[in-house]
Each structure stands twice: as C-alpha cells, then as structure tokens.
Amino acid sequence: MDEVMLNQWLVLSAILFSTGVYGVLAKRNAVVVLMSIELILNAVNINLVAFGAHNGTIAGAVFALFVIAVAAAEVGVGLAIVLLIYRNRRSVDLDEVAQMKG
C-alpha cells in the first residue's frame, strides 16, 4: 500500500472508461452523451501519461496533448450537429432521431 503502483492509474482509467461507455449507451440527451465521450477520452489520456511516466519518455504526454486537441475539435463539431438536430426537431432526444432505423 505504501508503494506507488502503475496499476492505480490504469484501474482508475478503467473506471472512467466504463462509466463513459455506460453514459454513451444509456443516456438519451445528446449533450450528456458528448460529456460521456469526454470521460472516455480522459481515461485514455490517463493511461497514456501513466505509461509515459513509467517508461520515462515524454511521448505519452505528447500523445495526450494530441488527444486533447482532437477532443476539442470533436466537441465543437459534435455540438454544432446537436444544435442542428435541435433546430430541426425542437428536441435533443436521441431516441427520436431514428429515421435510419430499418
């Protein structure tokens, strides 16, 4: 318990990742789904930084920076799409967006 384990961060990241997956699958509000995607991306970043620190290379932090940049782009475009759905349907309920259902 006194020693700092690599696994501490990996299991914390697994908790965040699973929570995010639950949010993506189970929420019907599109904005909450975007927040859950942020949880997933942050879980990945913790993993990258933990392994980077473990190996003593800066590459983990650099890739985490790239993931942050891609997450910013993703949330920008994602919210624009959500706004468009809201403007056309007066609702952001993902259960109602089902025209492509077979």
């Binding site: 965040l16 699958l25 590459a59």
Partner: protein, 167 residues
Amino acid sequence: MAQNIFFYVIAAIMAFSAIRVVTVHNVVHAAMYLVVVLAGVAAQYILLASEFLAATQVLVYIGAIVVLVLFGVMLTRAKLGEQVNLTNDYWYVGAFTAVILFALLAFSLLDHFGDEPLDQAAAETQLRDNTEQVADAIFGQYVVPFQAVSVLLLVALVGAIVLARRD
C-alpha cells in the same frame, strides 16, 4: 507515502463524480460534476510529473470544453430545473456492458501488471524541464502530427461554423 494518499483521495472523488455525471437527472449538474472529474484528471497529471499537461487540461477542458458544453445546454433549452428522465429504455443493457467491460479490464490489468511499481526514477526524469521536453518533442520528433492536428482544428472550426450557421 504522501503521493498515495493524494492519489486515493482524488481518485475516490473522481470515480464518484464520474458516476454522478451519467446518473444525475439535471444536465447542468452533470456538467458541474464533469468539471470535478476533469480537475481530478489534471491533479493526476501532476502526480505523474506532467505539469505542462495539467495546465493544458485546465485551460482546454475546464476553460473551453465545459463552457462549450454549457452553451450547448443553453442553446438546446434543456430545462434548468429538475429534469425528466435522461436515461433511455435500454439503460440496463448499457449498465451490463459497462460492468462486464470494467470486470474484464480490471481482471486483465491486475493479471498482467499485478504489483508492478511505477518506475519513480523514470518518472522523475520528466519532472525536470517538463515544458521544455514537451516543446522539444512537439517541434522536433512530432512536428508532422502537430501540423496535422493544426489542420484538423481548422477543418473542425470551419465545419462547426458551416453546420451551425442560420441561413
């Protein structure tokens, strides 16, 4: 060890807040719990000797992305009071998937990494001149991906404007 005490306190707050993000019935409260999780991630970066990344996390995530999400909440006029049910009819499938996923991840992590300690000496090599090392890596070895990310951000900016523009 002090590092472990901080880790477990912050990790407990983060896990609680992450679960609240996906269970709370009010979108604005979910965004506030998301702020707590993102701040906790920044604290974990500091524990992992990546101070530049911690500063970036606070600036980009808490400063920009959460504000953007709150704008999304306002523009889609989610009711600000106690919200109706935010979960869909198949939430138990999601819960089942998440629990199985976590069990598999935790099992394989504990099985493979077990009691492997974090390499403290390796981690401390990043602590000295952390920002300088990140800058050297981005503008040296990783300059091509860095330029690609710049173009991606530009494309996302133009795409978001085209999508959200009224005409």
